[in-house]
Each structure stands twice: as structure tokens, then as C-alpha cells.
């Protein structure tokens, strides 16, 4: 360990720095990232248990072989999906940035050293990720699929072969993402790159989440499906690396060898291609990063503004435009929002596909009604949580003084603007597009009735999610990983897997009835009114919060109560002092307990 603590050469120190900060970004510090990673690992181990197929317990020998192949393909797909998601999360650190060149400009470091160190750190991280992901399942799998009968040498050989083939597969996926990044960096430099990247990241995230979900379908594949793999799956990376495993274990079948070779060739190709894009980025770094500074924004040729047509109050216009521009220009916020959207769409679509591909395909005519009744509710929930989470992430926190200075003049208007933004730009579009699909499938009347109910349900979700909201979007500091990851996932599973589909079915059934619809809409409107009144009670009356607090220990609300009392005493003292014309020392007269959670004050 002492060797690591010593100072080494420039290249080593740069690579060390880049490696340590590969998953660091504006959202997470290293410590917070580690806390999050620990939660992920904590969840991954019990989640991995789901991949062990219960059929192996009493399966006959010939059936065991089929289960083993299906499970291996399923596991490979699942691990590749995780690798892909990790690579997408590290996207911003995969290539040297303008910030790297500027931060290191005054040091005796050459550009090739920066690029080299970046490549080294990415290659090292890819290797670490690949080995870490492959080792645990590879060590378990041979025990499960009948290798226990063979000798220890065969057992260890199998563990080694699985670990090697899985690691190489994960490396392939990681470098494939790096290669795509390299291609985008070189093809779309400057502003175009910044525009394309979030959509690409969102697309890749959707792809990998859906692949991860699909891995559970693969687990159930039977002999007839597996027999078609040589033909249908010849371009599927899990098939290549499963074949590589077989090849290492001595399976020289004519279908296995070309697949295994294809896997190795693909790995070599993406690594070489990635290296070439780094080289190209090095040759063009001046042009790509340092000189390419197109900083002008797109201007409208027309003077009227659609937001001004809908909302007349200048203070509300200010906040809506501010939110709009943050989403338009902050890559991080766009990625978060697109990530949520992608994950929502992927989970809902994936769940429906999984549900139906395990049975006989019923045809689109039967598939669409349940899909258009439940998917918008699920996506709406995901988008609302995504928007709420994006609002929590600050943008240039030190610049929020302009809001603090003008808050007292427009706090209530600002929060109304937030409400309008969410309804206009989140809830409305999420339900409008499925409505266009619902009309030809269900007819005008049922589609309209259904969408009205869906919108009301989404509004109820908004009321619940923003009930204790007491800050301006992007203007408050943020302490990440405060909520337990398991709790968040449990909510997602509950809403997307249970509540969304059930509500969808109820809404669809209710929309087809007359009396039932009247009763249904009456219930939902009453619920929404109640939730709305609950949120509106004190909405915008107390000071907004500009500092998030990392309350690790639950405080039973004592701090909030103390603060509320303090604030009350302060205002009382100020009133008394202004009447008597004396100055009173607030510090000594009232204990200062600063916790800006003002929900107690409101009540």
C-alpha cells in the first residue's frame, strides 16, 4: 500500500486521478458515490438470487443442459446490461474534456499524456468492472448445473472459463459504449455533440434496461428456442461469449467456434476502434475542445413567446423560462430526465412484453388497450419523480442570490409557475401522445373518458410528490443518496408493477361504463381536490429553502419545532422592538436553531 501512497510519474498520477474520479460528477462526490455504490451492491446480491433457476432442483439430466444454457445466456445478458449502464453513467469521464485541458494547462503536461491517462483509466475501470461482475456468478454457476459430479480440475476449469468469457463479454460492452462515445466526440464536436449526447445516453439507457429485463425472459427459453440460436442469435453478444465459454471447455462444435471467434473479433475491434477515436481526439483536441467555442444561443426570429400567451404574470414567466432553459442547456438535467423517461418506458414496455411473451402472443389488437391504459400512468409517475429529482439538483448554486434577493416579491407566483410547468410540460404531453393511439383503438368517447381519468390520477400523484415542496427548482443545494435505494426501488416496483396496471384496468373498465364513470370520476376529483387543498395550505407562504441538510439521524421533528418557535419569538421581538423603538439582541433573547423545514410553521 505504501507504494500506492508514493508520488510516481506524471502519467501514473494523471491516470490515478482520472480513475478515482471516473464516476464522479456534479451530482455525487466520491464519498456519496461510494455510499450509493454500497446500496447497489447490497441490492445486487439478493437480486442475483433471482437468477438462480428453481427448476434445477429436480430436473432430469437432459433438461439440466437446456436450463444451464438458458441460464448462462440470461446471466450474460443481465451482466452485459449492468456493464452497459455503468459505462453510460461514466459517460462524461470516458474522454478528455475541455475542463481537463484548461485545468492542466499551466502544468508541464502534454496533451498526449492527458489522452493516454484517460484511456488507461477507462481501460483499467472496464477491467475492474468486468472482473468484479463476472467473478461471483462464475464461481456459483458450475455448482448449480451438474459440474459438481465432475472432478475438481474440471470444476475449476469451468469457473475459469466462465469468468474469462464473461469478463471478456463485459469488456466488449464497456468498450462498445466507449467507441460510440468516441464516434460522437469526433463526428459532432461542440454544441452539436452537447445536443446529441443526452439523447444517445437516454437511448442507450433504455436499451440496457430493456436488455436487463429481457434476461428474465431468456431464462425460460426451451430446447426449441435454443436450437435456433445458431441462426437467429448469431449477432447477439451473449451467444458469442457463451460459445467462447464452451470453446475454452473443449466444445469444438461447428456452431460454437465461429460464434466464439466472432466474440473475440468484436472485442478486438471495439478496443481498437476506441483507441483510434482517442488518437483522433488527440490529433484534433485543439479543434474539438479548445478552439471550438460556439457559445451563441439560438434566437427566435419572431417576437411572441408561447409561454407569455398562456401565462401573463412576468414572475411566473421568469420561472417557467428558467426551468425550460435549464432542461434545454444543462446536460446533467437532460440526462436525468431522459434517463427517468427511458427507464419508465423500458420498464413498462418490458413488463408488458415479458408478460405476453411467456404466453401465446395475443396480437396487437388485444395488447394495445391494456398498454395504453396502464403505460401512461406508469410513465407519468416516473416522469414526475424524474422532474422532482431534477428540480432538486442545483445549477450554479452560487448564482441563486438573484432568487434569494427577489423571493419575498414573488414566492407564491414562483411556486404556481412550477405547478403550471409540471402540468403543461410533463403531465399533458405524457397523456396526449397515448391519447392519439387510444382514439383509433377505443373510439373517441372511451379514449377521452380514459385520458381524463388518467390525467386526474397523474395530478393526484403530482400533489402527493410535491406536497412538502419548499424550494425553487435548481436553486437549492443537494445532498444525494438520502433516500434508501431499496425504498426507491420498492416504490417503483409497487407503482409500475402493481398500482399502474391495476389502475389502468380499473380506468379502462370504468371508461366503458356510464354510471361507473360518473362515480369513478367523482371519487378521483374529490381525492384530487383534497390532496390539492392539503398542498396549497401554506404553499408559498413560508421562506423557500436554499440549503439541503444531510440529516443522517432522524430528529423526531424536535429541530423543526424549535425553529418554528424561534421564528415566532423573533417576529414577536421585532414587532415589540419596532413599537418601543429599542433594539433587541435576537441572538441572546432567542436560541438560534436553523432548520429550514417550514412545514410545521404552515400548520
Amino acid at each position: 500500500m505504501n507504494w500506492l501512497k508514493r508520488t510516481h510519474g506524471t502519467q501514473f498520477e494523471l491516470a490515478r486521478h482520472f480513475f478515482a474520479s471516473l464516476f464522479e460528477n456534479e451530482m455525487f462526490s466520491r464519498e456519496q458515490g461510494l455510499r450509493l455504490a454500497a446500496s447497489v451492491v447490497g441490492l445486487a446480491i439478493p437480486a442475483g438470487m433471482l437468477l438462480i433457476d428453481p427448476r434445477i432442483v429436480d430436473a432430469p439430466q437432459e433438461q439440466l443442459r437446456v436450463i444451464a444454457v438458458a441460464d448462462e445466456l440470461s446471466l450474460l445478458t443481465f451482466l452485459f446490461a449492468i456493464t452497459g449502464i455503468l459505462a453510460v453513467l461514466a459517460w462524461h469521464s470516458l474522454f478528455p474534456t475541455r475542463g481537463d485541458y484548461l485545468a492542466l494547462a499551466s502544468l508541464p503536461i502534454r496533451p498526449q499524456q492527458i489522452v493516454g491517462a484517460r484511456f488507461l483509466s477507462v481501460a483499467l475501470m472496464a477491467t475492474v468492472v468486468a472482473i468484479a461482475l463476472a467473478l461471483w456468478p462464475s464461481a456459483i454457476s458450475p455448482h448449480s448445473y451438474g459440474t459438481q459430479a465432475a472432478s475438481y480440475s474440471v470444476l475449476f476449469a469451468d469457473i475459469f472459463a466462465r469468468a474469462l468469457s464473461t469478463s471478456l463479454g463485459c469488456l466488449f460492452v464497456f468498450f462498445a459504449v466507449v467507441a460510440i462515445h468516441g464516434l460522437v466526440t469526433n463526428l459532432f464536436p461542440g454544441r452539436w455533440g452537447a445536443r446529441v449526447t443526452p439523447y444517445l445516453q437516454g437511448g442507450l439507457l433504455i436499451f440496457f434496461v430493456m436488455a436487463g429485463l429481457y434476461s428474465f425472459v431468456i431464462q425460460g427459453w426451451q430446447q426449441n428456442v435454443l436450437q435456433q440460436l445458431a441462426d437467429r442469435g448469431r449477432w447477439a453478444p451473449p451467444v458469442w461469449f457463451s460459445s467462447l465459454h464452451n470453446l475454452i471447455m473443449g466444445g469444438w462444435q461447428p456452431t460454437v467456434v465461429p460464434m466464439a471467434i466472432r466474440g473475440l473479433e468484436a472485442l478486438g475491434l471495439v478496443v481498437l476502434f476506441s483507441a483510434a477515436t482517442y488518437l483522433l481526439a488527440l490529433l484534433r483536441y485543439q479543434q474539438l475542445l479548445v478552439e471550438n467555442r460556439d457559445t451563441s444561443v439560438h434566437t427566435r426570429s419572431w417576437r411572441w413567446n408561447p409561454i407569455e400567451l398562456i401565462i401573463g404574470n412576468p414572475r411566473q414567466q421568469a420561472i417557467i423560462e428558467f426551468i425550460w432553459k435549464v432542461f434545454g442547456r444543462s446536460r446533467m438535467h437532460r440526462v436525468v430526465l431522459l434517463g427517468h423517461f427511458g427507464a419508465g418506458v423500458a420498464v413498462m414496455t418490458g413488463a408488458i412484453l415479458v408478460a405476453y411473451t411467456t404466453k401465446t402472443w395475443p396480437g396487437w389488437r388485444h395488447m394495445l388497450p391494456p398498454a395504453i391504459s396502464s403505460v401512461p400512468i406508469g410513465v407519468s409517475f416516473v416522469m414526475l419523480t424524474g422532474v422532482r429529482y431534477s428540480f432538486l439538483l442545483p445549477v450554479q448554486l452560487r448564482a441563486n442570490w438573484i432568487f434569494q434577493l427577489t423571493e419575498s416579491q414573488g414566492r407564491h407566483q414562483w411556486l404556481s409557475a412550477l405547478e403550471h410547468f409540471v402540468i403543461l410540460f410533463v403531465i399533458f404531453p405524457v397523456h396526449f401522445l397515448p391519447f392519439l393511439v387510444a382514439v383509433p383503438v377505443l373510439g373517441w368517447r372511451i379514449a377521452t373518458c380514459m385520458v381524463i381519468l388518467q390525467v386526474l390520477v397523474s395530478c393526484c400523484m403530482f400533489e402527493l410528490l410535491f406536497n412538502d415542496w419548499q424550494q425553487l427548482p435548481f436553486a437549492c443545494s443537494y445532498v444525494p443518496a438520502k433516500s434508501q435505494l431499496a425504498t426507491v426501488i420498492a416504490w417503483w416496483v409497487f407503482v409500475l408493477g402493481f398500482l399502474g396496471p391495476i389502475l389502468g384496468k380499473i380506468i379502462l373498465a370504468t371508461s366503458r361504463m356510464s354510471l361507473g364513470y360518473v362515480i369513478g370520476i367523482g371519487i378521483v376529483v374529490t381525492l384530487w381536490r383534497w390532496l390539492h387543498t392539503l398542498r396549497q395550505d401554506g404553499w408559498g407562504e413560508t421562506n423557500l429553502v436554499y440549503e439541503d441538510r444531510d440529516d443522517v439521524v432522524p430528529n423526531l421533528g424536535i429541530a423543526e419545532a424549535a425553529y418554528a418557535i424561534t421564528r415566532y419569538c423573533e417576529s414577536d421581538l421585532v414587532q415589540r422592538s419596532s413599537k418601543s423603538g429599542q433594539t433587541i439582541d435576537v441572538q441572546t433573547a432567542v436560541p438560534q436553531t436553523r432548520t429550514d423545514n417550514s412545514s410545521l410553521l404552515r400548520h
Binding site: P314, T406, S408, T583, D585, Q587
Partner: protein
């Protein structure tokens, strides 16, 4: 009669006073310089005045009434240029000014006219659609000054107003400040650049470790401290800070 008054203003962080019993008053059209070394408590005072920080003790009076009674009214009449040009750099110059104006409730027609005029007068019109991240410090400072003047405030608070501005702009801003003063605006100017303060203000308040050491006209201070410049006056008040030893120690560390 003074329009703006600070009475026994004190701010303690964890019991340690950062601003300690500061009092002063300003009349209409007066330019007051608030000078002190780094960490003297200038910015903390400013943050309390504009309402970003709550004083631990003392009051800030506006037209004879505590600003705590109606902070909104006070903030509506206030123009502020911060020390650091902290702006939303993903907005363009004109977008940023529009945001500021709208937050102050200004109508589009008035706002558009003012933004255009300010940007043209400050020489930023050609860069109006460029992101603030591409602006130099001086250009950002000009945007902030425009934002502070846009709503015709009665009290202007400049925290290091001339930092980053070019020579021509410094001269122009001095002229603007003098003109604002003639039009009855009260101007509170914070800086540690003493030459600037000497040319800008008639009266200064010298702050050291949160306490006011002197509050008088520059001419009178020069006379009583027998110094020819404000720098000399300031040095005479803070002579126990041993700059020579400090410089020597720094050089020793450098060569070690």
C-alpha cells in the same frame, strides 16, 4: 434626514463576531465607501443589508423603519452588484437580464426597451446572444450593473464594483455613480481597492475584523492622520498587521 441607517449591526457565526456593532447612516445622494481588508466583514455586512443573512443583533432602517417590517418593499427599491460575478452562465446576456427583470415583475415592453438600451450602452449588444460562460469578468460585471440599475432603485449596493472592468469602463462607471448620486440615489460601495474608493467616495468607513475603526470624510481622515492618501490613512489604522514579516515568511516557505 438619513434614508438608510444601520444600527449596532452584529453578526456572529458560532459565537464569533464577524461583524461587530457596526452603525452608520446615509443620506439621499450620498456615496459611502466601506473599506477593509479581506475577511474584515464587508461582504457579511452587505449580505445582512440585502436580506440574505439575518443579523444576530441590531437593526437596518429604511426611511426610519426597520426593513424586517417590510423586507419586500425594501428589496424592491434595492439594486445590488455582488462581489463575485455569480451568474447563470448557461443563459445569454439578454436572457439573464430578462430573467432579472421578470423576477422584479417588469412588463415585457419596458423590459425589452431597457435591456436593449443597457446592452448597447455597455457595448454588449453584439454579444447579447452569447452565453454568459463565454463573457469575460468585465462583461459579466457590466451585465450585473445593468441588472442592478434596471428597475431604477433608490439604494445601490456595489460590492467591488470596478473589479474586472477596463479603464474606459471604470471611468464611465465613476461618472455613472456620480450622476446617480446627483439624482438622489444613495450608494453604498464596498471595496478593498483604496484608489478606487478615493476617487469614488467622499466619505468612508474603515472596517477591521468586523469593527468600525473610522467613519468620516476622506479629506478629514487624511488631515487627522497626517497622510496624503487614503492608502496611508488605511495603513495608519491597521499598522499592527505586520506585512513585512508576512512577506518574509512567505518567501522563506517558497525557498524551503
Amino acid at each position: 434626514m438619513s434614508i438608510f441607517e444601520v444600527c449596532h449591526l452584529t453578526k456572529r457565526f458560532s459565537g464569533i463576531p464577524v461583524v461587530d456593532d457596526v452603525s452608520f447612516a446615509m443620506e439621499q445622494g450620498e456615496i459611502l465607501g466601506y473599506i477593509g481588508a479581506n475577511g474584515a466583514g464587508k461582504s457579511t455586512t452587505v449580505k445582512m443589508i440585502i436580506g440574505l443573512l439575518q443579523p444576530s443583533y441590531g437593526q437596518i432602517m429604511w426611511h426610519g423603519r426597520s426593513i424586517a417590517e417590510n423586507l419586500t418593499r425594501f428589496q424592491e427599491r434595492l439594486g445590488y452588484v455582488p462581489e463575485e460575478p455569480n451568474v447563470y452562465s448557461f443563459l445569454s446576456g439578454s436572457e439573464y437580464l430578462r430573467l432579472l427583470g421578470r423576477l422584479r415583475g417588469m412588463k415585457r415592453s419596458v423590459l425589452d426597451f431597457k435591456i436593449e438600451r443597457f446592452l448597447k450602452l455597455f457595448g454588449l449588444w453584439d454579444d447579447r446572444e452569447c452565453l454568459l460562460s463565454s463573457y469575460s469578468k468585465g462583461m459579466r460585471q457590466k451585465v450585473l450593473i445593468s441588472g442592478a440599475l434596471m428597475h431604477d432603485p433608490e439604494l445601490l449596493i456595489f460590492d467591488e464594483p470596478l473589479a474586472g472592468l477596463d479603464v474606459n469602463m471604470v471611468m464611465a462607471l465613476r461618472q455613472i455613480v456620480q450622476e446617480l448620486s446627483h439624482r438622489g440615489k444613495a450608494i453604498f460601495c464596498c471595496s478593498h481597492v483604496l484608489d478606487d474608493m478615493e476617487k469614488l467616495c467622499a466619505r468612508v468607513l474603515i472596517l477591521r475584523r468586523g469593527r468600525v475603526l473610522a467613519d468620516d470624510s476622506i479629506a478629514h481622515l487624511r488631515e487627522i492622520r497626517e497622510q496624503s492618501s487614503l492608502e496611508g490613512v488605511f495603513a495608519s489604522f491597521t499598522k499592527e498587521d505586520d506585512q513585512e514579516n508576512l512577506a518574509r515568511d512567505i518567501l522563506e516557505v517558497m525557498q524551503s
